[in-house]
């Protein structure tokens, strides 16, 4: 392994090493889960800082180290760091989550590999490393401990299998696994089928992820891998026209999430639909070949989703419904303020960063002559606005008599509030974030 390859692998290696360490450290009876989670946050934050400080350049045929990979690695590491902080402060699972930090770091390592993979085999290794811990984390945390966890896990395994089948077909068609070779044989039906299956396998990882803070990393990773795959095949010797495929994916995501969220009363599912709608916007940007817009939307989405899950963590219920939010405005005014701002960011109301993300994405789509998608997207966001507004308005309802008191999770509220303020600030002064988004290049 050359020095350049080692440099490109460094974030993944650091994360994998600390994941192993965290798993080993979890064995002694005396180590508490809290300290492990704080350590995990520290490691992830360091990785984010290192990735940004090291910059681009180098890399190898199988691991890219360009603007896009640095950007996505930093984003994944930051989200992991904040999620670890939240895990450390979360009163609900603290007793039995000693292995959580190790799993989270493994998932982050997998995500880092996925977004920087420039080779199909590496992509699959990363996907497997990401998916298994992520499914354990989200399945255990977000679903009740019954057969739904198993079903969820099987769904994830199927997604990976589909992706693997697609990769095999691509190899059969091109005789290569590197992304460089992917641009060469475009009119082969085997090639197209392989690409379609790979895409489907990647995307169904998003669709099957329930709304939970640990699923954000999966979504970023899949979006990053998708953008890279699109870029690799669109700029080859015979470029593929991705517009129709991506626009259909975006339209389906926007329309389905808009319709499905209207009647949903479970808070976590609601946030899950928000995820899908946001990734629909990212897909819209990808269909319009607007990488900076996609990156901007992805950052905004990650921040808003993270903030929402941080704020909602004060609910003690395992599967909270909207009625459980009643009375929160009186009991936890700061958390409700944060939730309000975050929901405004989610639905893209000015002056939040969500509004700018929407404007950038839709502007690119209009420029790419996807006016139908723009109209569909804006109208779907009306439906989802109505759905997510209930999240805020439910907090102002009078509490039920038998309501369980929300937990006093100061860290969660503080994180949610900081993220909410950052989302508003980025909407007023988006300069730094825009500059960062401009660095996303393949």
């Amino acid at each position: 392994m050359s020095a350049a390859e080692l440099g490109a692998m460094l974030p993944a290696l650091a994360l994998a090493g600390s994941a192993v360490l965290a798993t080993v450290l979890a064995i002694p009876r005396r180590t508490g889960p809290r300290i492990l989670a704080w350590l995990g946050a520290l490691v992830a934050a360091t990785v984010a800082g290192l990735a940004l400080a090291n910059g681009t350049g180098g890399g190898s045929p199988s691991i890219a180290r360009d603007g896009a990979s640095v950007f996505f690695i930093a984003l994944i590491a930051m989200v992991t760091a904040v999620s670890c902080v939240l895990a450390a402060a979360d009163p609900r699972r603290i007793a039995r989550s000693k292995d959580e930090t190790g799993l989270a770091l493994f998932a982050a390592c997998g995500a880092v590999i996925v977004v920087s993979a420039a080779d199909l085999v590496v992509l699959f290794v990363g996907l497997a490393l990401l998916a298994i811990p992520a499914y354990v984390l989200t399945g255990r945390a977000a679903l009740a401990g019954d057969e739904r966890v198993v079903r969820h896990f099987l769904l994830g395994a199927t997604s990976s299998a589909v992706a693997l089948y697609g990769i095999a077909l691509l190899y059969a068609a091109t005789g290569e696994t590197g992304y460089l070779g992917l641009g060469r044989a475009t009119h082969n039906p085997l090639y197209l089928a392989g690409l379609g299956l790979t895409l489907a396998g990647l995307l169904s990882h998003i669709a099957s992820a329930p709304g939970h803070r640990w699923s954000i990393v999966t979504n970023i990773a899949v979006a990053g891998a998708l953008l890279r795959l699109v870029a690799a095949t669109a700029t080859g010797e015979v470029g593929l026209d991705w517009q129709v495929a991506l626009a259909s994916v975006a339209a389906a995501a926007l329309a389905l999430s808009g319709v499905a969220s209207i009647a949903e009363r479970r808070v976590r599912r609601l946030a899950g639909y928000a995820t899908i709608a946001q990734l629909g916007f990212v897909a819209t940007a990808a269909a319009s070949a607007a990488l900076p817009a996609a990156a901007f939307a992805l950052v905004t989405y990650s921040a808003v989703a993270l903030g929402l899950f941080a704020g909602l963590a004060i609910l003690p219920q395992r599967e909270p419904v909207l009625d459980d939010l009643a009375g929160l405005a009186r009991r936890r005014p700061l958390a409700v303020l944060a939730l309000t701002l975050l929901v405004l960011g989610l639905v893209g109301v000015p002056p939040t960063a969500g509004f700018l993300a929407k404007v950038y994405v839709l502007e690119a789509a209009v420029r790419a002559q996807l006016l139908w998608l723009v109209v569909l997207g804006t109208l779907a966001s009306v439906a989802s606005t109505a759905a997510y507004a209930r999240l805020v308005l439910a907090c102002f309802a009078a509490p039920r008599l038998d309501a369980v008191a929300p937990s006093r999770m100061r860290v969660g509220t503080a994180v949610a509030l900081v993220i909410a303020i950052a989302v508003v600030a980025a909407g007023l002064a988006p300069g730094a974030l825009l500059d960062a988004a401009q660095t996303v290049r393949f």
Binding site: V349, P350, F355, E363, V375, T378, V382, A386, L428
Partner: protein
């Protein structure tokens, strides 16, 4: 000189985060008066009209925080300042005052932002953002039907602004600028103008509301708390009038000309429809609602005509309608405190409450448009302009004041005349002061309509040369 109309409410809103308790209301009144005063001073001195680009906001799209004023926005800003002050003064004793006044100030800021924006994206941001405090005020402080009312209003407005955003972005892709000044000289092909004008109008017609997009109107006006109804009917509806006059007309002159027969027909029919519905109501708030629908559609007739007379008339009528509807909403709230309901009661209140009756009569006269009140000059100007363009539209529109007169006089008769009511008391000093100031403004605009009409002329040349 213009930024302060946004900054003052922002400061007041931020101050509501501090434990200031009963100070919030005087501060909100003051912020309304200060903004009205500062705009008046700016007009008097003639400063700040030039668009002032503060800073590039959404840089890759070149969206600027650019503010400035023209005649239309100055008139409506002053109206807004007065109405927000009046509404704040009338919201004594609200529940959770700090939250209420914080939202109130944010609403004032967003409305002012609509009028001072000199950049299309900034305009849209303010236009869209004002829905948030408005919906929360309706939801949190409204009457019995508030949830359904808020939901319907929000969904309809959001649908409108979704299409508006599409239109704005489509315009940017063609013009590569958001600046009002640059867009004014940018000319699209005629078919594109029609398409874009339709997208923009979708956003504005929902909010105006142009007939037949008024499904949210009745519920929202009736279930809103009185101060919110004052600003909703008085000034927030004018953001749409302003937007049609200031954005659709100068940016898509040919498209608007092609669409104008249909738009005029809708607006004229809507005006008459609203007036006729108003005669059939037995709730004072509903009467005001439908009379407002009639007046607003009449104003829309003036704007869609796009002749100098029609535009001046629309501006004067906008200011007049804002003042008159504010008085009427405040008086019906006062009336409801006396009779215990928003129904017409058993009549005969005039003997017990002469001042209440007198102000009500004056306000109804203003609504009808009797000369000497502010309603007259605007309405006459619109009707004259309508007859000049199309006698049919003119005829339809000229029936509106007649029907409103029938309905207004009917309300007066039912509420105030007849055998003296057994109980009831006159307006208190606080209510009296508020209403008298507003009535003085109504008479002032009625006697000296040039005070507002001249402001429209400042925007005039740009708008009258449109059809070339």
């Amino acid at each position: 000189m213009v930024v302060d109309v946004v900054l003052i409410p922002l400061l007041v809103g931020a101050a509501c985060a501090l434990p200031i308790g009963s100070l919030a209301r005087p501060l909100a009144v003051l912020s309304g008066l200060l903004t009205a005063g500062s705009v008046a001073a700016a007009v008097w001195l003639g400063v700040g009209a030039e668009p002032l680009g503060l800073y590039y906001w959404a840089a890759p799209l070149g969206a600027q925080l650019a503010v400035g004023w023209d005649g239309w926005s100055a008139a409506l800003l002053m109206l807004g300042g007065v109405l927000f002050a009046a509404g704040a003064a009338a919201s004594g004793g609200v529940a959770r005052p700090r939250a209420y006044f914080a939202l109130w100030s944010l609403l004032q800021m967003a409305v002012a932002g609509v009028f001072v924006s000199r950049d299309l994206l900034l305009f849209f941001a303010a236009y869209e953002a004002l829905l948030v405090p408005l919906a929360l005020l309706l939801w949190g402080w409204g009457g019995a039907d508030r949830r359904a009312a808020t939901a319907r209003l929000a969904v309809m407005w959001l649908t409108g602004s979704a299409l508006l955003l599409t239109g704005i972005l489509a315009l940017w892709v063609g013009a590569h600028t958001f600046s009002f000044a640059a867009l004014g000289s940018y000319r699209l092909a005629e078919t594109s103008q029609v398409l874009l004008a339709l997208l923009f109008l979708a956003g504005f017609a929902m909010r105006l509301p142009l007939f037949p997009f008024h499904a949210w109107l009745a519920r929202a006006y009736v279930s809103a708390p009185a101060p919110v109804a004052v600003v909703l009917a008085g000034v927030i509806s004018k953001t749409a009038v302003y937007a049609v006059a200031r954005i659709c007309l100068p940016f898509f002159p040919r498209g608007m000309a092609d669409l104008s027969p249909y738009l005029l027909a809708l607006a004229a029919v809507g005006a008459l429809y609203g007036a006729i519905l108003a005669t059939r109501q037995c709730d004072t708030r509903a009467v005001i609602t439908y009379a407002s629908l009639a007046e607003l559609n009449l104003i829309a007739v003036g704007v869609f005509l796009a002749t100098p007379g029609g535009l001046v008339g629309a501006l004067v009528a906008s200011v007049s309608h804002g003042l008159v509807v504010a008085i009427l909403v405040l008086l019906t709230a006062a009336l409801a405190r006396r009779t215990g309901s928003f129904g017409f009661g058993s009549g005969g209140l005039g003997a017990r409450a002469p001042v209440l009756m007198g102000s009500f009569v004056l306000a109804i006269l203003g609504l009808i448009g009797v000369p000497g009140t502010s309603g007259a000059p605007g309405q006459l100007s619109i009707l004259a302009a309508a007859f000049a363009v199309s006698p049919g539209i003119g005829l339809l529109a000229s029936l509106v004041p007649v029907v409103i007169a029938v309905c207004g006089v009917g309300v007066l008769r039912a509420v105030f005349f007849g055998p003296p009511a057994p109980r009831g008391w006159d307006l208190g000093w606080r209510e009296r002061g508020l209403v008298i100031v507003l009535i003085a403004l109504v008479v002032l605009v009625g006697v000296v309509p040039r005070s507002v009409g001249d402001l429209a002329d400042r925007t005039g040349p740009a708008l009258t040369e449109l059809r070339r």
